[in-house]
């Protein structure tokens, strides 16, 4: 098992490198001159060249990439052009907020998605299944930001029950107080993955129930509860993969939601980095989010063989 984990880790290295190349070049492709933000419009050519040299922007791209990569590997993501603070500290600050939001949203999506999906998968065609499917489709197709705004209108404006914005300013706030700020953005964020997990689990359970071995399990007299155990173990590997991807999206896909709720996470950070063309910040944030994705996949890869012995540990 340890060997398998090490191998998986090694396999993740080239993926991470490819991700870094893409992050680096994507930003080069984006329109607009990053220096336009920090420099006055009438700056002389010498000033422009000096600043360019200061940020290393006068070197060939390949060289820039390797310098950037070398720095990144040692934990130096450079300084934000807009604020002058180290990118790493900006990101690590934001990531804590995003992670806690993503964690709560994942928990909600998992609880709702798994239970609805199983119910629906067991009762394909029944009213329960129809309600669950309608819920799943709404979750997948209702736009994030719209749902967010509707929730704010209902729970903050009309009922005045929950805060509409931010993460709270009181640093000594208790967990409950913090949670109050997280509920609306978390629900908004959870809607889509809950829908996707519901639909995948529904399909998986229905497909597993239709397999021959389920009839054979019934034929040997197992109870429905025991058969359920078999269904779960058979569906787990695929469900895990879906869930892993969704949790990755939750981290990265929260730009709109974090913007709507002014939640100070990576999404909001990315948003402002784009608006201010803050290239070091943009590159750093995208890279960290992409690496988070790679890590999620790695975890799924490591967990899957625990459920399905046919997935070879190679």
């Amino acid at each position: 098992m340890l060997g398998y984990i090490l191998k998986r880790l090694l396999h993740a290295v080239p993926v991470a490198l490819a991700v870094s190349v893409i992050c680096f070049s994507l930003v080069q492709l984006a329109p607009g001159d990053p220096l336009a933000v920090v420099l006055p419009a009438d700056a002389s050519q010498e000033t422009v060249d000096a600043v360019k040299a200061q940020y290393g922007l006068d070197r060939p791209l390949v060289v820039q990439y390797f310098i950037w990569l070398g720095n990144v590997v040692t934990g130096d993501f450079g300084k934000s052009i807009a604020t002058g603070r180290p990118v790493l500290s900006e990101i690590s600050n934001a990531i804590g907020y995003s992670l806690s939001l993503a964690f709560l949203a994942s928990l909600m999506a998992l609880i709702v998605g798994l239970s609805l999906g199983m119910l629906a998968g067991y009762t394909i065609g029944s009213p329960v299944d129809k309600v669950a499917s309608a819920f799943a489709i709404s979750g997948v197709s209702i736009p994030h930001y719209w749902l967010g705004i509707v929730l704010v209108v209902i729970f903050s404006v009309q009922l005045n029950a929950l805060p509409a914005m931010g993460a709270g300013t009181n640093p000594d706030a208790g967990i409950l107080e913090r949670l109050r700020f997280m509920i609306l953005p978390a629900v908004t964020l959870a809607a889509m993955p809950a829908g996707i997990v519901t639909r995948s689990v529904r399909a998986l359970v229905a497909e597993t129930l239709a397999r021959d071995f389920v009839t054979a399990l019934r034929a040997k007299g197992l109870t429905e509860v025991q058969i359920f155990g078999h269904v779960v173990k058979n569906s787990a590997p695929t469900a895990l993969a879906v869930i892993g991807v969704q949790m990755g999206y939750l981290m990265a896909g929260s730009i709109l939601v974090e913007t709507v709720f002014s939640w100070p996470g990576t999404g909001l950070l990315l948003n402002s980095a784009i608006l201010t063309r803050d290239i070091p910040l943009l590159q750093g944030t995208i890279l960290v989010l992409a690496l988070f994705f790679v890590a999620m996949n790695l975890i799924v890869d490591i967990l899957q063989p625990l459920f399905d012995p046919r997935i070879k540990r190679i």
Binding site: R211, A216, A219, K220, G221, L222, H230, N234, R310
Partner: protein, 328 residues
Amino acid sequence: MSTPLLKVADLTVRFRTEKGTIAAVNGINLELQRGQVLGVIGESGSGKSVTLRALLGILPPRKTQISGAITLDGRNVLSLTKRELSKYRGGEVSMIFQEPATALDPVFTIGQQITETVMRHGATTKAKARARALEMLDLVKIPDARSRIDNYPHELSGGMRQRAMIALALSTGPKLLLADEPTTALDATVQIQVILLLRELQRELGMATIFVTHDVGVAAEISDRIAVMYAGRIVETGTASDVLKTPRHPYTNGLLTSTVIGARRGETIDCIAGMPPDLAAMPQGCAFAPRCPLATTECTAAVPMLKKSGADQFVACIRQEADGRHAA
């Protein structure tokens, strides 16, 4: 004769499908003594598997209508409660499926799958159940059972998998074993080994067995009695030697001459012309009449009943009686 272990009276199984209700099994009667082996032969779609599944009570309840009576050891199977039924399945009656590759759960070991079954039907501790599993794997002659017990199904060859399924089915000591074409999915040489093993186990353990097969040779090898099914009905039944040596129903006759075993080298193998009827649109009277070389207009008047013909042989064919000789 002593009271039979299994008595099936006028069993009918209907499925609700998109095409309307179809009768896959159409009023069959069966009797099976303790320790006896009944071979069931018939073309694809004749209702053999549905019959076995009805006996075990594993047809999907929502789309199935079952009528008639199934009595095992004096108990009416069709009126068992849900709880009684799940004890009956796998406990008193076990089933071996055609495809061991799909009938075993791929993500549990052979040992786990036998153990959970034994636990369900009476074993008190896990250790005892596992010991029983090991004993069964030895009994079905899986080499090196002690290490094979922790293998997953995909780690075994087809033949070994089927042996494991046999071990699983027999682990609870059932009174009746239902085998649904247990060797069809295997290579020819492995087939023979598994058949021989089954015959040996049957003699040793003495459970009554219903053995479904396409292969007349296999049926001859293993059966005491044979029932021939066509379109959901039993058209001929009797001792294996009577039915195979002196087939009285034109369909049985067709089945026997269409096998390689009955044919001589160089002769072309006859096969029965035409196709089995659509169960949603059954012909009037004898279902075989449209394909039967001996059919007359009389045959389409009414469904022929099984009538005694010979010492211990029954046949559902009016031409047979009218002629007073073999329909062949």
